[in-house]
Amino acid sequence: MSNPADMKFLIVDDFSTMRRIVRGLLKESGYNNAEEAEDGAVALNMLKNGKFDFVVSDINMPNMNGFELLKAIKADDALKHLPVLMVTAEARKEDIVLAAQTGAAGYIVKPFTKATLEEKVQKIMQKLAATA
């Protein structure tokens, strides 16, 4: 990706308020291109039918939760390269470890700050650039 501002984000959260917050913060960080999904199942369908560069996902969601979405992404050859940043209220250590082992690129616990989101996205971007 030549220009990070052109990156397309998929924000997955069952609460529309949180989707708007994440979208607003990404916009403030210069990432204007984002779409939203209300659960993992909808997100997976969007990922399979569109081109995205970055996924920001909640964990506790109906239909398909964030762990299931993460596993599905990592099991799909066409999607497994996508970085997935988990943004969730799940604060159990076992959940954090499970997310890391499943292939999450980062983990943020809610409530979070603008600086935390910016920092994590930036860090993941740098890793992507280094491995590209």
Binding site: L25, I59, A91, I108, V109, K110, F112, K114
Partner: protein, 217 residues
């Protein structure tokens, strides 16, 4: 089961009344045992009530904090806004009186700088107001947990009621309620309402980062 009776004990002749009484007692014992079977479930649900109380307290605190934060930020933003409005009026008066002096004295330049600083600050307040809305997500998850607990409690009480009711009524009630109570406890926990004394959860983002770093991520 074989029972050894004393040699001098004389057994009364078995009568239908005795068998009927025995049958009634057995039935009562059976019903009581069934009811006792419900009690552990009910007790466990009732034990969760203090947790529900702390969850409701969490919701009250979160919403109150968010409301106060937003109102404080609005007050600050309004003060900034008012400051810019005042400065605009002053500059307009200066320009109207003597445009050249207004520029030469640096009043125009100072005003531009002031506007830039204040608008940046107001933008920060707006971001903070947006962030304060995260209580909706966090409290929403907690509300869902409390609702689930209320449903469990209701289901346990209905079960108790059904078992204490006459059989013909019980069957009707049970059939009507079967489809309503299919709750399942999700494996995910949602927001931690009280992290004190818990070692299985992280308290903040830096603990998440430390944990991930210890795993080599």
């Amino acid at each position: 089961m074989k029972v050894d009776l004393p040699e001098n004990m004389v057994m009364p002749a078995a009568s239908p009344e005795i068998f009927q009484q025995l049958g009634t007692l057995t039935r009562q014992l059976h019903d009581t045992m069934n009811m006792l079977g419900v009690l552990p479930g009910l007790k466990s649900t009732v034990d969760d009530l203090p947790d529900a109380r702390s969850r409701l307290n969490y919701i009250a605190t979160k919403t109150a904090d968010a409301a106060e934060k937003v109102l404080n930020l609005v007050d600050t933003a309004k003060a900034d806004q008012e400051h810019i409005a005042d400065e605009t009026r002053k500059l307009a008066a200066l320009i109207t009186a003597d445009p050249v002096k207004a520029v030469a004295s640096g009043a125009v330049f100072n005003f531009v700088q002031d506007v830039e600083t204040v608008t940046k600050r107001v933008d920060g307040h707006l971001t903070d107001i947006m962030m304060a809305q995260d209580f909706h997500d966090l409290t929403g998850q907690v509300v869902a947990k409390v609702v689930r607990l209320a449903n469990d409690l209701e289901a346990q009480l209905v079960k108790l009621l059904v078992q204490a009711a006459p059989p013909e009524q019980a069957q009707k009630v049970e059939a009507a309620l079967t489809s309503h109570h299919q709750t399942s406890e999700p494996a995910l926990e949602g927001p931690v309402v009280d992290a004190q004394g818990r070692t299985d959860v992280v308290a903040n983002q830096s603990e998440v980062d430390d944990l991930l770093a210890s795993l080599g991520f």
